[in-house]
Amino acid sequence: MKKLPSATKTAILMTAVLILLFLLSVLFIVKNVWDKKNSSKLTAEIYQNGRLIHTIPLYDIGNSYEFPVYGENGSYNIVRICPGSIGIVSSSCPGKYCIHQGISSHLHVPVSCLPNHLLIRVVEEKDLHAIPDIDAITY
C-alpha cells in the first residue's frame, strides 16, 4: 500500500479527534435536555465574583417577581424569578448578552453577565451549595 504523506495522516487523526469532541458535546446537550425533563425541585444560585450571594427556590412560586443585584462601580442586573426558571431582564452591561440568554431552567448551562461578574445557575436540591461563602452569623 502506498505510504500516506504525514500531513494526510495528521489530518485523519485531527478529524477523528474533532468528530469525537463533536459527539461528546452533542451527548452533553442531550443529557441536559433529559435531565431537565426528569428534574423536580429546582433552585437558583446567584454568584457574584465567585461568591454565592443568593439561593432562591424556583418551586412553589406564585407570581413572577424581579429584584436587582448590584455590583461594583454602579453596575447592576435585574433578575426575574418565574416558576421553575430564572433570567436577567435588565443590565448595566454594554453588550446585553445576559438578557439574550433569556429566562432559563437549564441545569448545566448557566445564565451569566460576564462584565458584571455575575453567574446564575439552576440546580436540583441535591446539588445545592452546602454553605454559602458569606454567612450572616459568622460575618
Partner: protein, 166 residues
C-alpha cells in the same frame, strides 16, 4: 513596484477587509443564547495571511485588526477577551498549519475557532471565579467546529483565486 511595499499594501488591504467583515458580523443577531457564539468570519483573513504569508505577518494583521476594532467599536472588557482569544487562536493555527504542511486549511480553521472559544471560557472562568461557566462549553465546541469548517472552506477557496505576488 518594490516587493516589500507591495506586500505591505496587500497586508494593509487585508487588515481593512478583516475590519469590515468584523463590523458587519456585529450586526448579525446571535442565533443561540450563549455568549461567545459567532461566525468568526474575520478569521478568514487571518487564515489567508497565515497560509500565504506566514505567522509573523498573520500576527501583525491580527493585532492591527483587534486593536482597530476595539478603538472603533469596542468596550473595555472586550479588548481582553479579543486579544486572549486571538493570540491563543493564532498560536494553535500556526502549529496546525505547520503540522498539516499548509494543506487542509479547514482543519486549521476549526482548531483556531476551538482554541479561541476555549481561551474565552478560560478568561470567563477567571472573571466570574466559578467553574460553572464551563457549562457553555458543549455549545461552544459545536459552534466552533461548524463555523471553523465554514470559514476554513471560505479561506481555502479564496486562496485559490487570490493572485500571487509577482
Amino acid at each position: 513596484m518594490n516587493r516589500s511595499v507591495q506586500k505591505l499594501t496587500r497586508l494593509a488591504l487585508l487588515t481593512a477587509v478583516a475590519l469590515i467583515i468584523y463590523r458587519f458580523e456585529l450586526l448579525l443577531p446571535a442565533p443561540v443564547p450563549v455568549p461567545g457564539i459567532k461566525l468568526g468570519l474575520a478569521n478568514i483573513v487571518t487564515l489567508i495571511v497565515l497560509n500565504r504569508y506566514g505567522h509573523r505577518d498573520a500576527m501583525f494583521v491580527l493585532f492591527c485588526r483587534v486593536l482597530l476594532s476595539f478603538f472603533f467599536f469596542g468596550h473595555a472588557i472586550s479588548l481582553l477577551y479579543s486579544l486572549t482569544g486571538a493570540l491563543c487562536s493564532l498560536f494553535i493555527m500556526t502549529l496546525s498549519d505547520k503540522l498539516l504542511e499548509k494543506r487542509f486549511l479547514y482543519l486549521t480553521a476549526v482548531w483556531g475557532a476551538l482554541s479561541h472559544n476555549l481561551a474565552q471560557i478560560a478568561v470567563a472562568l477567571a472573571i466570574t471565579r466559578t467553574i460553572w461557566v464551563a457549562g457553555y462549553l458543549p455549545a461552544l465546541v459545536i459552534s466552533a467546529i461548524l463555523t471553523g469548517l465554514f470559514t476554513g472552506l471560505c479561506a481555502h477557496f479564496t486562496l485559490k483565486y487570490l493572485p500571487k505576488a509577482q
